[in-house]
Symmetry: C2
């Protein structure tokens, strides 16, 4: 049913009740899926099917090969979806081409983005959680659905993906306590970490090598910028899959405070990933270009020629960092 | 006093008593110091001085710049060392040139290496701990010495260094529970992680870039090999400091099971770091060359020409992996 009333902010207990009350769940993950949306989607799927519900997990793009270990027990089953849940989706724009038809019909949103646009009937948002999977963990506890090893693998995958394996500021003591409980279910966490962080295809290694050697530094080396063109992707055989998690490379140099990674999507259309490692809120910068995200990690889409968009982005960063433009 | 009796394996309670009974502590860290030996050394220093003891921390090499945030409260004070403690040192060979004079006089060893050679009067060894700092955490708890924010910064540094920020198999649920407690003291963990893992000098970025583009693959791409010569270090201005933690780069390709990083130390003398990410015990391989370490991470020194030692190492790896030599 199309959403007509304003969204309701709900707590874990209410969300838990909603899971038990309904039966045929359709779980939506975001386009260009990462470990958190996939982990949250499949974690929720296994949890719901474990208590006898029907469920399916959908995405506008293909599920990444990197997380193949999570899809093994997934069983496609035909049923009429009755209840639609979006996981780790801050804005319906992120549903992508295939799933945008659901935008006005989402019953429940489970997310951890402060910038969430509150598009669902019921919103379970924990802006300070390290990952959507952390929110799902607390929800499953509230719903008293036992966290099996299979579910734990999904949740751990999402948590390590979004927290940079407990490195980033969004990590809390609570994140570690949850990790301890997930590890106690017997998950192969070292294998998962290798899949998420350390297993690279030759193409991925090539694209990282390219990014490192083509990194440009601006604003007194406080800002790094690198762009990946479509031609380069074609040349090297690198797939979109291989590009996930490339943005942290931009902030490796010790002087850098803001890193910008720009990927061409269509001719003249670029996807921007911005990372901050000090006191700059990149979510506020990206929102100026119609994007959003977190304080330390955000993104937006931008159109123009590469030199133009580079200048636009650097100006926006310089202005927020309080740096005179002539330094560029 | 020179050690003359066989070493005694002790538990946390006995070790705690030893800390309270003595007064003038000399803490030894290993040569080519990493975050675990430094974190353990300074963590113990701050703990001992907090209960009114004299202490100093020594190393044959310079303490790395990367961990500068740990040295701030360190105060040099003259006293006669009465009790000698080695931290994170598996073998007295690792004391290095300056400190080898202490080899026969070590009173207490705090370590987490299964391969420890048991050289001290009293041995507190927890082979399954993710880091020497994890052992120290449990020791300080047993000694009822409050873990201040300053001490927590040291312990967290060691734990994340040796566990690859909770990525590697040595991490346990206990490691996460300790991390949660350390984070609750208010340490700037995201800053620490950035210092340990993500802050790189231009030289470091250059050497990583070199290593990635010069990686050689053998044994059906199951083994990666890369060497760093002294000439290259001179050319690029890279210091030993910049080389810490380079070995994991060798196992990034998805097919690789064993990675070998070889660094020239003196002409014809090489330091070998070996990493395993599957079922090969590299500690057993390195011990054949007089080295040691852990199942998944080990090292040794080896002499010869580069082509010679490459062949020797690959043969040893092939033999343990059960691969026919002709595949090389």
């Amino acid at each position: 049913m199309k959403n007509s009333t304003p969204p309701t902010m709900i707590n874990y207990e209410t969300a838990a009740k909603l899971l038990h009350e309904h039966d045929n769940f359709c779980i939506l993950t975001h386009r260009s899926p990462d470990g958190d949306t996939v982990g949250c989607g499949f974690g929720l799927y296994y949890a719901l099917t474990s208590i006898g519900k029907n469920a399916c997990v959908l995405c506008s793009d293909e599920f990444p090969r990197r997380y193949n270990y999570l899809y093994g027990e997934y069983a496609g089953k035909r049923f009429n979806p009755g209840y639609i849940i979006a996981v780790d989706i801050a804005d319906t724009k992120l549903l992508g081409t295939e799933l945008k038809k659901y935008a006005d019909y989402i019953d429940l949103c489970i997310d951890h983005h402060h910038s969430n646009t509150h598009y669902a009937k019921n919103m379970l948002i924990e802006g300070d959680a390290a990952a959507a999977c952390e929110v799902l963990y607390l929800l499953l506890e509230a719903a008293q659905i036992p966290i099996t090893k299979l579910i734990a693998e999904c949740l751990y995958t999402g948590i390590v993906t979004d927290s940079g394996c407990f490195k980033y500021p969004a990590t809390t003591a609570e994140t570690h306590l949850i990790a301890a409980k997930l590890i106690n279910t017997g998950i192969p966490y070292a294998y998962i970490n290798r899949q998420v962080f350390e297993t690279k295809s030759k193409q991925r290694i090539a694209i990282e090598s390219y990014a490192i050697s083509h990194m440009e530094y601006y604003l007194d080396e406080k800002c790094a910028f690198v762009s990946i063109s479509n031609e380069l992707l074609l040349e090297t055989g690198v797939k979109d899959d291989d590009l996930e998690g490339l943005a942290p490379l931009t902030t490796e140099l010790e002087t850098v405070e803001v890193g910008i990674l720009v990927k061409e999507r269509d001719k003249g259309k670029f996807r921007v990933s911005m990372r901050s490692v000090k006191n700059t809120d990149v979510s506020s910068i990206c929102s100026k270009f119609g994007g959003g995200g977190h304080y330390f990690a955000a993104g937006c889409m931008i159109e123009g020629t590469l030199p133009d968009i580079r200048m636009k982005l650097l100006k926006a960063v310089a202005s927020v960092m309080g740096i005179d433009l002539w330094v560029i």
